[in-house]
């Protein structure tokens, strides 16, 4: 048993000092959806999908980066929380290309999976799309930044696990972009090693491996509910 007790969805549970709300929830079998969060890395806090209701807080709280405190009363799936999560998914889809049917990542796209789980249909919000030319010159990585949802996993992972800084962020607001070098396409002679870390972590089809002859598509088949 842990040393901090709190209430989650009406049940008394406990966790240890320093754990986040998300960690405690997962330990207790409660599934809070996440997109930018990765277990091994420092929390990013960018996507906001993991928000939960904490009694006494006016705003919703990001569960992936908020430590638990004694006596917290948390709702992880209240109607308010679910509606906010749906809108967030719709906002990510608002500028995402509708090319799922021909996308390499279609059957393992986390954005699609989260959308399916939250029963998001046609998004209510549509904005202009962000078009960037495909970067396919490197033999280890293909980047299609039109599909990027700016979760920053690739930026954080490259730095945290590989100790490199291949990617960083540039521009601001809606124009924000994960860039390589000073916003150059990843060229054929660039220093990227084929460690695959960012590719395996990218939730969408923005990063992928060049397909080699005879290779199978990655991931299981995605079954869509309903």
């Amino acid at each position: 048993m842990g040393d901090i007790t709190l209430t989650m969805n009406g049940a008394a549970i406990s966790g240890r000092e320093g754990m986040t709300i998300l960690e405690v929830a997962r330990e207790n079998g409660i599934d809070i959806p996440t997109l930018c969060y990765l277990k091994e890395l420092t929390p990013i806090g960018a996507c906001r999908l993991c928000v939960v209701e904490v009694e006494g807080s006016r705003m919703l709280v990001g569960s992936c980066h908020t430590p638990i405190a004694p006596g917290m009363v948390i709702q992880t799936h209240s109607p308010k929380v679910l509606e906010v999560r749906r809108v967030l998914i719709e906002l990510m889809m608002a500028s995402h290309p509708d090319s799922c049917i021909v996308c390499e990542a279609a059957n393992c796209c986390e954005l699609r999976m989260r959308a399916t789980d939250l029963e998001v249909g046609l998004p209510r919000f549509r904005t202009r799309l962000r078009y960037f030319p495909l970067e396919d010159e490197n033999s280890n990585i293909i980047r299609d930044m039109s599909k990027c949802i700016l979760c920053r996993r690739c930026v954080t992972a490259c730095y945290n696990t590989e100790g490199k800084k291949m990617f960083s962020l540039a521009y601001r607001g809606f124009e924000s972009k994960v860039i390589y070098d000073l916003d150059k396409p990843v060229g054929s002679d660039e220093t990227c090693r084929d460690c695959d870390t960012c590719i395996s972590l990218c939730p969408t089809g923005a990063l992928r491996q060049p397909i080699k002859f005879g290779q199978r598509k990655k991931g299981p088949v995605l079954y869509v509910k309903g």
Partner: protein, 398 residues
């Protein structure tokens, strides 16, 4: 309740280039007095005074200082937020231009109280012409021996509104991209370089010396239940006499806008700039206090010739441009708001988008990472409440 001069007491009276003129007005007496007190004693006075932050959020200053004071660690920082990025605010500029010494003194008292050896003033790049004056004030105070054991450095912003937000400001001082951090940890625990840090607006610090000299009880006599002291307002827009006015908190908005600034034919008033609230003329008797609306004290007046959708649209364009882009609701939501408001403005709006705007506003307010995204939809929410027919006229086919 009338005008009063606490913060602006020395403005126009002293020579901002000469420390001796400041000395004749009790200059640096508060710092000496504070250094003769315990840190807890100073914090107690500030708490008694009821002083709340003047940068927009209104957080109790004494509680903030106490938090940083009590956080473990030998290395602590105090920051003065002189980014003054909020649309329609120009009071901090006026203060620095006329009385940089009180600011230096206030920051030095903060440093002493919190236990910081290093202070920073984060000055917006557009105010770089104030750099000489501010440096002069710091240097003179240093030479006169008032800043022994405490160093003040100035950092210039680079023209980003978000860098006025405290966590983005700290990222910026650290030399990183100006982006908000998630909280907790709060700055008083892990702020600049992850060390305990307090950050205060220029105007907040301007009150400190007065409180230390005259006592928290004296200060707490002014104002309302939860808004003590005075507030400096930046009044602009459709008024005859735009400018900086200091009023006792709780004064009616009407007195400021119609009385002092001479506004006529008012349609609506935006209180607190781009992330502030919009109220119609009917509500002009609202008291100016944290209990109602205040923000950083920007009062922008619009008369009957103004178009609501035009104003809201431009406010949203500003905020979309200034969003740091880190979190989904603010980055994506602002873009959609701007596009949709443009459609309503051109008479091409869709009826269902009014409902969607409300849904989106809720999500932004509830889930954005920082105050920018959380407060960004206010202009839309308020005008949908008070000027809904203007939106309905923008629906295609009407």
């Amino acid at each position: 309740m009338p005008q009063a001069k606490i913060v602006l007491k020395n403005c126009g009276i002293i020579d901002p280039k000469d420390i001796n003129t400041y000395r004749t007005k009790d200059g640096f007496k508060a710092l000496d007095k504070a250094r003769g007190m315990t840190a807890a004693g100073v914090i107690n006075e500030i708490k008694t005074s009821g002083l709340r932050g003047r940068g927009g959020a209104g957080f109790p200053c004494g509680v903030k200082w106490e938090g940083a004071r009590n956080s473990p660690g030998d290395e602590k920082y105090v920051i003065c937020n002189a980014d003054e990025g909020e649309v329609g605010t120009f009071k901090d500029r006026y203060i620095i231009q006329n009385d940089p010494f009180s600011l230096v003194e206030g920051l030095a008292i903060a440093g002493y109280t919190v236990g910081a050896r290093q202070g920073y003033i984060y000055l917006r790049a557009e105010y770089s012409y104030l750099l000489g004056l501010l440096r002069g004030a710091i240097d003179q105070a240093q030479e006169a021996g008032y800043l022994d054991g405490f160093n003040i450095a100035i950092r210039l912003g680079a023209g980003a509104y978000i860098c006025g937000e405290e966590s983005a400001l700290m990222e910026s001082i650290e030399g990183k991209r100006g982006e908000s951090r998630y909280r907790p940890p709060f700055p008083t625990v892990a702020g600049l370089w992850q060390k305990p840090t307090t950050i205060n607006n220029v105007e907040t610090l301007m009150n400190v010396a007065q409180i230390v000299l005259n006592g928290g009880g004296w200060y707490a006599q002014m104002g309302t239940e939860r808004s003590k002291g005075t507030k400096v307002f930046s009044v602009s827009g459709d008024v005859a006499r735009p400018g900086v006015y200091e009023m006792v908190l709780g004064s009616p908005l009407r007195e400021l806008v119609e009385g002092l600034a001479g506004a006529k034919d008012i349609k609506m008033i935006q209180i607190g700039g781009a992330t502030g609230r919009i109220i119609p003329y009917d509500m002009i008797d609202t008291p100016l206090a944290f209990e109602s609306y205040l923000g950083a004290g920007a009062i922008t007046v619009y008369n009957k010739s103004r178009d609501v959708l035009d104003i809201v649209g431009r406010t949203m364009e500003f905020l979309a441009e200034e969003s740091c882009g880190k979190c989904t609701p603010c980055r994506q939501g602002m873009e959609w708001m701007v596009e949709v408001l443009g459609r309503f403005h051109r008479g091409e709006g869709l009826a269902r988008d009014i409902g969607y705007m409300e849904v989106l506003a809720d999500t932004m307010a509830l889930s954005s990472l920082c105050g920018l995204g959380q407060a960004a939809p206010f202009a839309v929410v308020d005008t949908l409440k008070y000027f809904r027919s203007d939106y309905e006229k923008g629906i295609s086919g009407k």
